[in-house]
Amino acid sequence: MNLTIARGAFRTAPPLFDTAVYAIVALMIAMAVVGPMLAPDSVYVSDIGNALMPPSAAHWFGTDDQGRDVMWRVIAGSRATLLSAMLIVTAYSLIGVLIATLATVGPRWLDETLMRMTDIGLALPGLVVALGFAAALGPSLQSAIVAKAITGWPVTARLLRGIMRQTMTAQFVVGAQAMGVSRWRLMTRHVLPNSLDILVVKWAGDIGAAVLVLAGMSFIGVGAQPPSAEWGAMIASAKGYVANAWWVVAAPGAAIALAAVGFGLLGDILQVRRDPSLRGRS
């Protein structure tokens, strides 16, 4: 019974819903690519005079505690946030695939040791590694990315190993083995392709989660540092103003939520596309 973390796609997913999700994801990616170029440099320059101005015609989402336009900062920060999230997920997915492949194809003792390593990875609180890196290399976005990548791979490794072992024993693979196909060729020709498309689905879904984790890390001060406009750092530096300047907290929070929802649902849609029988179930 492999663990398929299915997400909530709508049963007879009206095309409208699918396009909405694609729109959100496209908007996010566009912001990440183009955003920082469009954003004026004033986004990084503190203009103390008009700090914490409420949303107005000039500043649609108001200004933050250093007088910088919140909307443009969200747009400028999108690259830092989304790119790092994608980097994290890609990194730990690759590590996960490598470990899972070795565990499946390799001899029994290799499988056993790798699985013990995965247990350690799962038990290791991501927070500690992030804090350790922050204290070692000084808190920065890079150290947060590396820390999260190191604590992210076990889940993927375990999930993929389960699926790979299952496909290895699936009828058609046993058949191929019967014809004398080597385990390694089997892996590359049959098992890996099947697992890879599961990986792509999980990759999309995980980006949403990675954005959340990155924001959490910045919140406790081990993620991006000033004057970076990374969304988590924005909330962290604005959390004192929930009462009197709600927009400084609301804007990045909404951006994070939108990214998490967008990519999360993209994962679901890809999942349903991959395995139509899941339509409406996930």
């Binding site: 000033p226 962290a236 009462a243 009197n244």
Partner: protein, 531 residues
């Protein structure tokens, strides 16, 4: 979001910067109930003061008053021989009379009669000797302030002489930081760690309050009836409650669950609360100055002209009014404006043209410098970013590099690893100019001379001051030192800043600054007069 346990470090008390965005929370490891009966006394809320503060109390051992949380509570449980009054003058507390010998190598003390510890036994010269010897043995925490101590000769129950290894005019002032323990009680519980474990959760003091144990996660001290220095309006209980988030402190103050909040509240929150009216900001004026320390030995900042140029770039007025909400004055010289013996030096000002000229004269183009700061301190984050954009205007690219407390300590332990620039909130342990100058700028003071500054002329002046028992002569020497430091731009003082302390006027009178316990001594709090 983490309240880091801030050490009340004197010379470069940067941790004292207000806590703001990132406040490191120390887990409540500190005070174990360990069988001690909780004070189940029913509360009379009207006679109780609830003191909210960030960070957790690691220990009650008065030796560790180098940590703010310990310093707040220990100052209510213990007394010192001498202390500083509101005007910054040294007065006796347990000591009735005290006098520094002419060679500044010994101090004669006569104890005040009729003073008792919390268990009723009298305070004797033997207790003072035991306390000082224990500090020397352990060499931890506040011991660094009295590293010149040799031994104590006890003449009788009330007369004693403290002898120093070498002349040190600063020692008398440093005694204001040494809380006296009850020798008999501590010796009985010495255990293997010189009673550090026992003192963590017990009090052996003679102070105005006794330790009444923990109530849930908070620490309670209740009034000591037998205290020698009677004063009316003292609250019956003070409850020390840990709240790390400034926003949470603000909400609890508004809701009346807390009577005053000291660390954790940002300048902006305090100013807004004050405007609202129900909760006021006491705007205390401690000996606190925001400085940027240059590395005067290596790298581009070794050139005084570069240092001077950088000093001329910062938007002092903008920073003070917008970031510190105007709570302070622009700096004029290395020492905070509230201290004595200060020469009149020009206030820091901005002059971009002069700055660019100096850079050109120093032959420096598109200079890149790294400045370290404490991410856990919100105002420092804002000031660092402001300086970054100011320096960009004169073609200097400032790279901001956050650093953790432990890493910073390690980097200043050796001259070669001192950062190019470091943004700090400097705090004087006690109001004697020597407490900053002697330890901070003597060329051989490794570990405390954070700029690596070496100037034989300054060394000579400082040695003379340290050995002189004549206050006016010392003052003149200190003034000469400050003039040289300012001309040489060893550090870049920004402003002498106040400390926001928000309180409920309905419950307590306006808190006043303390010269010894930063920024205020809970024992000085008085209940509001019920009309």
């Amino acid at each position: 979001m983490r309240i880091r346990r801030q050490a009340v470090e004197g010379r470069w008390g940067q941790h004292w910067g207000q806590w703001g965005r990132q406040v490191a929370v120390l887990g409540a490891a500190a005070i174990a109930l360990s069988g001690q009966a909780t004070a189940q006394t029913k509360f009379d809320r009207s006679k109780t003061v609830i003191f909210a503060n960030g960070g957790v109390v690691a220990t009650l051992d008065p030796m560790r008053t180098d940590y703010a949380q310990t310093s707040f509570i220990a100052s209510t449980l213990y007394d010192t021989l001498v202390t500083y009054d509101k005007g910054g003058k040294l007065v006796g507390q347990l000591a009735e009379t005290f006098e520094l010998a002419s060679d500044a190598k010994s101090i004669n003390v006569l104890l005040r009669p009729g003073v008792v510890f919390h268990d009723g036994s009298p305070v004797t010269a033997q207790d003072v000797a035991y306390t000082l010897d224990r500090l020397k043995r352990l060499g931890l925490g506040i011991a660094s302030q009295i590293d010149g101590y040799d031994k104590t000769t006890v003449h009788d129950a009330r007369k004693l002489t403290i002898r120093l290894a070498r002349p040190d005019s600063l020692f008398l002032g440093a005694l204001s930081k040494v809380y006296i323990l009850e020798a008999k009680l501590v010796a009985a519980n010495v255990g293997t760690d010189d009673a550090q474990g026992w003192l963590q959760t017990h009090d052996a003091g003679s102070g105005p309050y006794t330790f009444a144990g923990r109530r849930n996660a908070d620490i309670v001290v209740s009034q000591f009836p037998g205290y020698w220095n009677k004063a009316d309006g003292r609250p019956e209980q003070i409850v020390f409650r840990r709240i790390d988030e400034g926003a949470t402190q603000r909400d609890e103050l508004r809701a009346g669950n807390v009577d005053l909040a000291v660390l954790g509240m940002g300048y902006r929150d305090a100013a807004l609360l004050d405007k609202e009216g129900r909760v006021k900001d006491a705007r205390l004026k401690p000996e606190l100055q925001t400085n940027i320390i240059f590395n005067t030995r290596t790298g581009p900042t070794a050139d005084p002209r570069v240092r001077r140029a950088i000093r001329l770039a910062y938007d002092y007025q903008g920073g003070l009014s917008a970031i510190r909400q105007g709570n302070g004055v622009i700096a004029s010289g290395p020492l905070p404006a509230t201290m004595s013996c200060r020469p009149d030096l020009p206030a820091a000002h901005r002059d971009l043209a002069e700055a660019r000229r100096l850079l050109a004269e120093a032959g420096v183009k598109n200079l890149q410098i790294t400045m370290r700061f404490q991410p856990t301190v919100e105002v420092q984050r804002l000031e660092a970013t402001l300086l970054q954009s100011n320096l960009a205007e004169i073609g200097v690219q400032l790279k901001l590099e956050p650093i953790s407390f432990a890493a910073y300590l390690a980097s200043v332990a050796r001259f070669d690893s001192i950062p190019q620039m470091m943004l700090l909130d400097d705090f004087a342990q006690f109001p004697d100019p020597g407490s900053i100058l002697l330890r901070g700028y003597r060329s051989d003071a490794v570990g405390t001379n954070r700029s690596g500054y070496a100037n034989p002329k300054v060394d000579a002046l400082l040695d003379a001051a340290k050995a002189s028992s004549n206050p006016t002569q010392r003052c003149d020497l200190y003034k000469q030192v400050q003039t040289i430091l300012d001309k040489d731009s060893v550090i870049m003082p920004l402003y002498t800043v106040g400390r926001p302390v928000t309180y409920r006027p309905q419950q307590i009178q306006t808190p006043e600054v303390s010269k010894v316990v930063f920024p205020l001594a809970p024992a000085d709090l008085r209940l509001a007069k019920k009309s």
